[in-house]
């Protein structure tokens, strides 16, 4: 089984991705590998706009039918957007983990933190 690992973004070992957007925020979601491991996603619990996150600390919870898993912030900063669509359609995480299944946008406190994340190649080596 092979998984999509787009190289336009960076990854945490705990399977979250971080994508720098044009306006300087960092969009966050989980990888194709992670959604496949979880199976049918049925619930997500996300922070509120304005919450402050620290890098590699828990920001929410994702539940599939069979498992509960914590979500970790790839970078620290203020939450500036939350994907509300996931509350009514959590299956978007399965259907389109790198697109419509995104979870948060963070205004990064320190953009250097992005450099500490895994590249697509490094992440691929981890999940291979």
């Amino acid at each position: 089984m092979s998984f999509d690992i787009p190289d336009d973004r960076r990854y945490l070992e705990s399977h979250e991705w971080a994508l720098e957007t044009d306006d300087g925020t960092v969009r966050v979601g989980i990888s194709d590998f992670a959604q496949d491991e979880l199976g049918d996603v049925v619930f997500v619990e996300l922070p509120d706009d304005g919450d402050d996150l620290q890098q590699e600390t828990e920001f929410g919870v994702i539940e599939s039918i069979k498992a509960v898993s914590d979500l970790y912030a790839p970078v620290g900063g203020e939450v500036v957007a939350v994907n509300d669509d996931l509350f009514n359609a959590p299956e978007l995480v399965n259907d389109d983990p790198f697109g419509d299944g995104w979870m948060l946008e963070i205004d990064p406190a320190d953009t250097d933190e992005l450099e500490t994340l895994l590249s697509a190649d490094e992440y691929e080596a981890q999940v291979a």
């Binding site: 089984m1 619930f43 039918i65 069979k66 399965n94």
Partner: protein
């Protein structure tokens, strides 16, 4: 200890199954997705490999006495081909395991039984039967045949038609909770109209060496233990080790809502304790509930009353694929057991409103 593997471990792996440890066995948990597999069983037909279930064979002049003394139900009600749900209880009437007992065709003129204990309990159960037989000097042969058989469940509204197509003999006249010997691809299989999904269907007990050919005869959605769990929760059926557990959550059949498995007019281990329990009443019982707030109940979460006082524990919970609602089972004091009662389930420190519901949660056969 290495995991036991079902005969078709390799076939399932090739098919792309994910596996999980369950009761000491390495079993497929998911072939495609739990949702897909669950829907197939509710709307069409699916096949499960349940070879982790035990098979213990009992025959001989005292086979009926031995079965009667060690299971809570009344095996003398069984004619050849009948089956019955029963519990195995200890002296205190607490459930050790639950099981289905089949009366097989007589062997050498003696009543003969096959019963199906849960995954990983077959050795202890076999020992229990042997030691009781020896203690009371009963004449019966008790064989643990778990490794000799695979077991498949074909479940769903279209399961009877599919099984009927695959078997040489017609099986459409086989009633619920009865069984017959039917031939699949030249191999005789014990074919019982039983299951663990709330749907119609059959369970086949097949020789391990023939398992691959027989599995291949059934052209339908393969399903894993994940869907098996969501299906049985919707049907309000208990899972040993989760909804009762002699070590961590000992329960009588009355508390567990399966008092119909207790035949007090028979002599069995635990009978006297259960008679007292029934006369004295019991303080707690298993209820079904639905979460009204967003969240999913899971095994071990606290149940509180509306004042926030802990009154019980969730034993099983999931997002119901059929209802698209979070549902669960748990023990609460009888005063909270009435359907419609408002309770709360504590999910990661937050109280989520829940409502007691009648089980099964869905229409079942």
């Amino acid at each position: 200890m290495p995991l036991q593997t079902p005969p078709l471990r390799g076939i399932h792996d090739e098919r792309g199954a994910k596996f999980t440890e369950f009761g000491g066995w390495d079993m497929p948990v998911e072939f495609d997705s739990i949702q897909t597999e669950h829907e197939a069983v509710r709307e069409d037909v699916g096949i499960f490999d349940v070879s982790h279930m035990g098979q213990i064979h009992v025959t001989g002049p005292d086979a009926t006495t031995l079965m009667q003394r060690l299971t809570s139900n009344d095996v003398t009600r069984l004619d050849v081909g009948d089956s019955q749900y029963a519990t195995i209880t200890d002296e205190d009437g607490q459930i050790i395991d639950d099981t289905v007992v089949y009366r097989l065709p007589d062997e050498d003129g003696e009543a003969t039984y096959l019963f199906v204990p849960n995954a990983g309990t077959d050795e202890a159960t076999h020992e229990r039967w042997i030691s009781y037989r020896n203690e009371f000097d009963l004449e019966a042969t008790v064989d643990n045949q778990t490794d000799e058989y695979a077991m498949f469940a074909i479940q769903g509204p279209n399961a009877p038609a599919l099984v009927d197509d695959v078997t040489e003999e017609s099986v459409t006249d086989v009633d619920r909770f009865t069984a017959t010997t039917a031939t699949v691809d030249g191999v005789e299989c014990w074919t019982a109209r039983t299951g663990y999904t709330g749907e119609d269907g059959f369970e086949l007990i097949v020789p391990a060496g023939e398992a691959e050919n027989i599995w291949a005869q059934f052209d339908c959605q393969p399903c894993g233990l994940g869907a098996r769990d969501t299906l049985r929760i919707e049907a309000g059926l208990l899972l040993a080790g989760q909804d009762f557990d002699l070590e961590s959550n000992p329960r009588t059949p009355y508390e567990a809502g399966i008092g119909f498995t207790v035949a007090l007019d028979t002599e069995f281990v635990g009978r006297d304790a259960l008679e007292s329990a029934r006369e004295d009443g019991f303080d707690e019982e298993l209820v079904g509930f639905q979460l009204i707030d967003r969240g999913i109940p899971r095994h071990g979460y606290d149940i509180t009353n509306t004042d926030g006082r802990v009154v019980g524990t969730v034993t099983s919970g999931t997002m119901s694929p059929t209802l698209d609602q979070p549902i669960g089972l748990g023990y609460v004091p009888s005063e909270y057991a009435e359907p419609g009662t408002t309770l709360q389930v504590v999910v990661r420190g937050q109280s989520k409103k829940a409502r007691v519901e009648t089980t099964p949660f869905i229409d079942t056969v």
